[in-house]
Symmetry: C2
Subunit: 384 residues, 2 copies
C-alpha cells in the first residue's frame, strides 16, 4: 500500500469566503451582530422568502403532469424569456429586435463564471477589469483566477455622501470597456421592477453590447437553488446567436444541465398575473420595511445628537447601503462593539431590527464621537 | 449607435451535444427509434422516476420547518455523508479512517469539471488522459478543452463479446495513472448497491488515491436537478483536507452554492429506512425489467435464426450494453432502418419496449444477414 500521497504538494487553501463572516462566527460575544449578509433578512433575522414562492412550490409538487427530465444545456426556455422580459421590459426595443438572449445558469455566480470564460476565450486582448468595490470579493476573484488584472472603483462618493453613477458612465465611455452588469436583486431596490434596471435600458438605448448576470434567488427567496441567467445584448440577432452558441458549449462543460426547481417556481409566478401581483406586493412590503428601518436609524442618530448629517441613509435605495462612516469608525464598531461591517461601510439594512437597532445606533454614535474627537482632520462634511 | 459588434470575431459554435440525437430529431421517418438515451426509460418511453421520490418531494414541500437558505459551497453535509456511505459502504475502511470526503456538485458533469480543474491546477505534469470510449463524448471533451490529450480505450472485447476489466487494471497499474471513476447510476446495473461499486472498494483496498464522480440523478429519477458529488479518496485525513479545501475554492468560483432540492429529497430517502427500502425495491423492479427485455431480444433473435451467439446480451448488467454488432451493421441500422445506435454498438436496453421490440430485432436480423453475406471476413465468432 503506497504511503506517499499523489496530493503531497497540495497545501490547505486559504478560505476565500467572507473573512468578516468567519471572524463574526468565531466571536464569542453574545450580542455580536453581522450587518453584511448578502440576502434580505426578515425582522426575525431569517432570510426572507416571498410567500407566493411557498404556495407555488407546493402546487408544483402536487402536479402529476410535470416531468423531471434533464433541461437542455441552455436551460428552461420559458424561464429565460420571462427573466429577460423582467430585466429589459417586455417592450424593450432590443427584445423586439431579437438581439437579446440568455443562458439559464447556476445562480449569478454561474453566470459570472460562464461570462468570464467566454471573455477569456474570445477577447484575448482584454485583460483588465474594473469592478465596483462591493463586488470585488465575490466576483473579482473569479476574474483574477482567470488571469485578469482587477481594478476596483466605487460609485459611492464618501465626501458628498451619495452615489455618483457618472463615474461608471465616464469609465465605460472613455475606456472602451465591455460592460458586465450584475442585477442581484431586481425589485428590492425601489420595489419598482423597471426602475431597478433603468441602467440596462439606458445602455440598450445607447446601442451598447453587454453581458448581465441576473440572480432571481434573492428577490424570490429561493436561495438554495441558485437561479440565474447570463443575459447577452448584441447589435443584431446573427451576432447574438453566435455568442449564445459559444456560451452553450462552455455551459455544457461546466454543468451540462442547469437545475430546474427554482426556475420552474419563478416561471410559474412570472407567467401568472395573479401570482405576479402577489410577488410584486411582497417586494413592496419588504422595501417599505427597509425604508422604515432606515428612517428609524436616522431618527435615533438624530435623537442621540450624533454629529454629522445622516440624510444619505434614507436617500439610498435597496437592502444594502452606505452608513457613511470612515474606516476608523468602521474598525471601532467591529473591534469594540462586535458589530460586523465591511471595510467600505456598506451594510445590509435588513439586518437591523427591533432587537438590535438601539445597540447599533448607540454604537455608531459612540464611534463617531470618539473618532471625531481624536481626529485632526474630519473626513465627513458636517452640517451645523 | 455602433454598428460594429464587439462579438464580430465570434463564429457559430459546432454543436457538441449528440450528433446522433440531432440526426434522430431531424429524421422524418415515423417509426424512428433512438436507443442511446443516457437515462433509464419506462415501458411507455418516458424517463424513469422512482415513486418514492415523488412522495418525498411532496412531503418536503409541505414541511414549514425547512429553510431555503444558501447551502455552503461544499454543499449539504448530510447529503455528502449519505452519498459517500452509499458509494463506499458504511463500514468502508477508508470512511472509518476519515480519508474519504466529497464536494456536493451540480450533477456529475459539475463533478468532472471540478475534478479536472483541480488536476490541471495541481498536477501540471499530467497531461494525458485515458478515457473509456463510451464516456468520451460527454467527459472527454471537457479534458480536451482544458488542454489534456485524450486517448480512448474500451473494456469491451469485440472478439470475445464480453467485458474485460483487466484492461483497466493493467493500464492503471502499469502507467501510474490517477484514476477518476464515474458512477453514473449505482443500483441500476445489478440492483445490488454494493456490487455496483465493487471496483471502488477494490481500489480502496489496494491503497489507491482517486477521484470519483457520482450522479444520483439517474438512480432516483431526479434528472432536472443535477445531483452529484465529487468523491475524494486520499491516503490520510490531512491530505484529504488539503484537497477538499482547494476544491472548495474552485467550486466557489464555479457556482458558489450547489442546488439543494434534489440533494434534500435524496438525503431524506437515504436516511429513512422505510423510504430507503422502497427505493431499493424500485431499483430491483427496473433491473428485472431490463433483464426481461434482454431475454426477449435474445429469444426473438434466436427465433428469427439470426446468425451468431447472442448470449452476451443477457450476460451484461445494467441499462446500457453492447449489442455486439460491427460498425457496418450499426451503420445499416441507422441509415436503412432509422434505429439510432452509437458507433460502438452500446445501446440503452431500457429504450426497447413492447411497441418497438419486433421492429428492432427484425432489423438486427436483417443487418446481420446482409452484412454477413456481403463480407469476406467476419468480425464475429460464430457458433455452429
Amino acid at each position: 500500500m503506497p504511503t506517499l500521497s499523489v496530493f503531497m504538494d497540495v497545501p490547505l487553501a486559504h478560505k476565500l469566503e467572507g473573512s468578516l463572516l468567519k471572524t463574526y462566527k468565531q466571536d464569542d460575544y453574545p450580542n455580536k451582530i453581522f450587518l453584511a449578509y448578502r440576502v434580505c433578512m426578515t425582522n426575525e433575522g431569517h432570510p426572507w422568502v416571498s410567500l407566493v414562492v411557498q404556495k407555488t412550490r407546493l402546487q408544483i409538487s402536487q402536479d402529476p403532469s410535470l416531468n423531471y427530465e434533464y433541461l437542455p444545456t441552455m436551460g428552461l426556455k420559458s424561464f429565460i424569456q420571462a427573466s429577460l422580459a423582467l430585466l429589459f421590459g417586455k417592450h424593450s426595443q432590443a427584445i423586439v429586435e431579437n438581439r437579446v438572449g440568455g443562458v439559464h445558469t447556476v445562480g449569478d455566480s454561474g453566470a459570472f463564471q460562464l461570462g468570464i470564460q467566454f471573455l477569456r476565450a474570445w477577447h484575448k486582448d482584454a485583460r483588465i477589469v474594473y469592478i465596483i468595490s462591493s463586488q470585488k470579493e465575490l466576483h473579482g476573484l473569479i476574474f483574477q483566477d482567470m488571469g485578469f488584472t482587477v481594478y476596483e472603483y466605487s460609485v459611492w462618493d464618501p465626501k458628498k455622501l451619495c452615489m455618483d453613477p457618472d463615474i461608471l458612465l465616464n469609465v465605460v465611455e472613455s475606456k472602451q470597456i465591455f460592460p458586465f452588469f450584475d442585477i442581484p436583486c431586481q425589485g428590492l431596490y425601489t420595489s419598482d421592477l423597471e426602475e431597478d434596471t433603468r441602467i440596462l435600458q439606458y445602455f440598450v438605448s445607447q446601442g451598447f453590447e453587454f453581458f448581465c448576470s441576473q440572480s432571481l434567488s434573492k428577490n424570490f427567496g429561493i436561495y438554495d437553488e441558485g437561479v440565474g441567467i447570463l443575459a447577452v445584448v448584441a447589435v443584431n440577432n446573427q451576432q447574438l446567436l453566435c455568442v449564445l452558441s459559444q456560451l452553450e458549449g462552455l455551459a455544457q462543460a461546466l454543468w451540462l444541465n442547469p437545475p430546474n426547481t427554482g426556475a420552474r417556481i419563478i416561471t410559474s409566478i412570472l407567467c401568472n398575473p395573479a401570482l405576479l401581483g402577489e410577488w410584486k406586493q411582497s417586494l413592496k412590503e419588504v422595501v417599505e420595511n427597509i425604508m422604515l428601518t432606515k428612517e428609524k436609524v436616522k431618527e435615533k442618530l438624530r435623537l442621540l445628537g450624533t454629529p454629522g448629517s445622516w440624510g444619505h441613509i434614507t436617500e439610498q435605495s435597496g437592502t444594502h447601503g452606505y452608513l457613511g462612516l470612515n474606516s476608523q469608525q468602521v474598525e471601532y464598531l467591529v473591534r469594540k462593539k462586535h458589530i460586523y461591517i465591511p471595510k467600505n461601510g456598506q451594510i445590509n439594512f435588513s439586518c437591523i431590527n427591533a432587537n438590535n437597532i438601539n445597540y447599533i445606533t448607540e454604537s455608531i454614535n459612540e464611534a463617531v464621537l470618539l473618532t471625531e474627537s481624536s481626529e485632526m482632520c474630519l473626513p465627513k462634511e458636517k452640517k451645523p
